[in-house]
């Protein structure tokens, strides 16, 4: 088997242990360019750990992860240029303005035409009028929208989403979903970890169910019987949907 499979994202034999606790065990999956993989599972299933490994924030204990032909452990810096992470935390500095936050991250990523890119993204997330306001004065929904701008600043081809709808009101959720749909048209590839079945199925082209660190179900959404899938999900998570 080649080190990196031809898919945009390939995960092979991935395991992670913290001390004696095994959080992920023998995870295998592939995601092709333009696909949207939704990873479902209850709290503690290992979803966030998996997203953090894919984002190069933590190292796996064993197994390989390849993003666009780059093996994460061998060349994490190049991989990071292709990854955007939107999590339930904004990753933004409350004591800096929206513009200062984006400028900071833009410089760290070495983004060219930074000011243009910032203006474009602030317009896209409808925060142009608040660009000189401190982020700590923003509502949760506004922070999440700015977080999307931050994640897209360096034009990543892969977007990792970790419970992105967490804590959002319906209006902010609607805006986030609209932006995600727009990005899908631009051929971005997504992996979203969520325990929100409705949201995940709404966007997904493929699904996985993670339970106690193992993949217990996986498949393409168009081949799924949704009601059967719900039952399967309920059986693994005890109906906590």
């Amino acid at each position: 088997m080649p080190e990196c499979a031809p898919s945009l994202i390939s995960v092979c034999g991935l395991s992670k242990t913290f001390g004696r606790r095994r959080v992920l065990e023998d995870i295998d999956f592939e995601v092709k360019k333009g696909e949207f993989l939704a990873i479902f599972g209850p709290n503690g299933a290992g979803k966030t750990t998996l997203i953090k490994i894919l984002a190069t924030l933590i190292l796996s204990s064993s197994g390989t992860v390849c993003l666009d032909g780059i093996e994460l452990k061998k060349d994490p810096l190049t991989a990071r240029e292709r990854i955007g992470l939107i999590s339930h935390e904004s990753l933004l500095y409350g004591d800096l303005t929206a513009h200062e936050n984006l400028r900071f991250y833009g410089r760290m990523f070495g983004v060219s035409n930074l000011e243009e890119r910032i203006s474009h993204l602030l317009e896209k997330v409808e925060l142009e009028h608040r660009k000189f306001d401190l982020v700590r004065t923003f509502s949760r929904g506004m922070q999440q929208r700015l977080s999307i701008a931050r994640a897209l600043l360096h034009e990543p081809s892969i977007l990792l989403l970790d419970e992105p709808h967490s804590g959002l009101d319906p209006h902010a959720t609607e805006i986030l979903d609209g932006i995600l749909e727009d990005l899908r048209k631009d051929d971005h590839t997504f992996i979203m970890a969520t325990h929100n079945l409705e949201k995940g199925l709404n966007h997904a082209t493929s699904v996985l169910i993670l339970s106690q660190g193992r993949i217990v179900f996986g498949g393409r959404k168009d081949a799924l019987d949704i009601s059967d899938f719900r039952k399967t999900y309920d059986s693994y998570v005890g109906g906590h949907v």
Binding site: A55, L57, T78, R80, L92, Y93, G94, L96, F104, M108
Partner: protein, 227 residues
Amino acid sequence: MNYLRRILTIVGKDIAAEIRTKEMMNSMIVFVLLTLVIFNFAFGERLEGAAEASAGILWVAFLFAAVLGLNRVFVHEKDEGCLDGLMLCPVDRSVIYFGKALASLIFISVVELIALPIFAIFFIRTSFLVNLWLLILVLILSNVGIAAVGTLLSAISINTKARDLMLPILFFPVIVPILIAAVKSTGLIISSPSLPGDVFVWLRMLAIYDIIFMLVGFLTFEYVLEE
């Protein structure tokens, strides 16, 4: 060049945030000034001619103030997962280490420059202005070591439950060589109107210590952040 530019980007971000909040600098300045005033009341005239004791007071005040600041180095990075945001950037982890250490060095140095004249008024009776450059060199070398060690240990302690307590427990034993060299060299400088030759032994020790701990930080920071 990109490496240095990104270090300076982190420094600029930290300075901008500090200018806005002033929470780190204010607490450090108030603490160091209060400590000097209290020591002045406690010892007063009895410290005349005891340059090394005066230098000890100065460095105890500086070190405790530095710990106050170093405890806050990664606090803002933990808020809203900003440390993850930094770690997502396509830069070597050592860029984060040197950026945070350089920002800490600047904050500590500013506090010391404010406190130094107060210390001179309270505790120094001889003219040390001829050796002021030497004193500034001691401050710089000591602060580099304090920032290098403090930033590394602050990153370790930030993920512990009792992080406010953890940093001093880890920091003070490691920083003892700097404290000794700083006190000895400062004592020699403020007690002698001429150039004290012995001071260069202590300066060399400070420089070696700085290099060792910057190397340790450079080599280990990746593991500190990821585990």
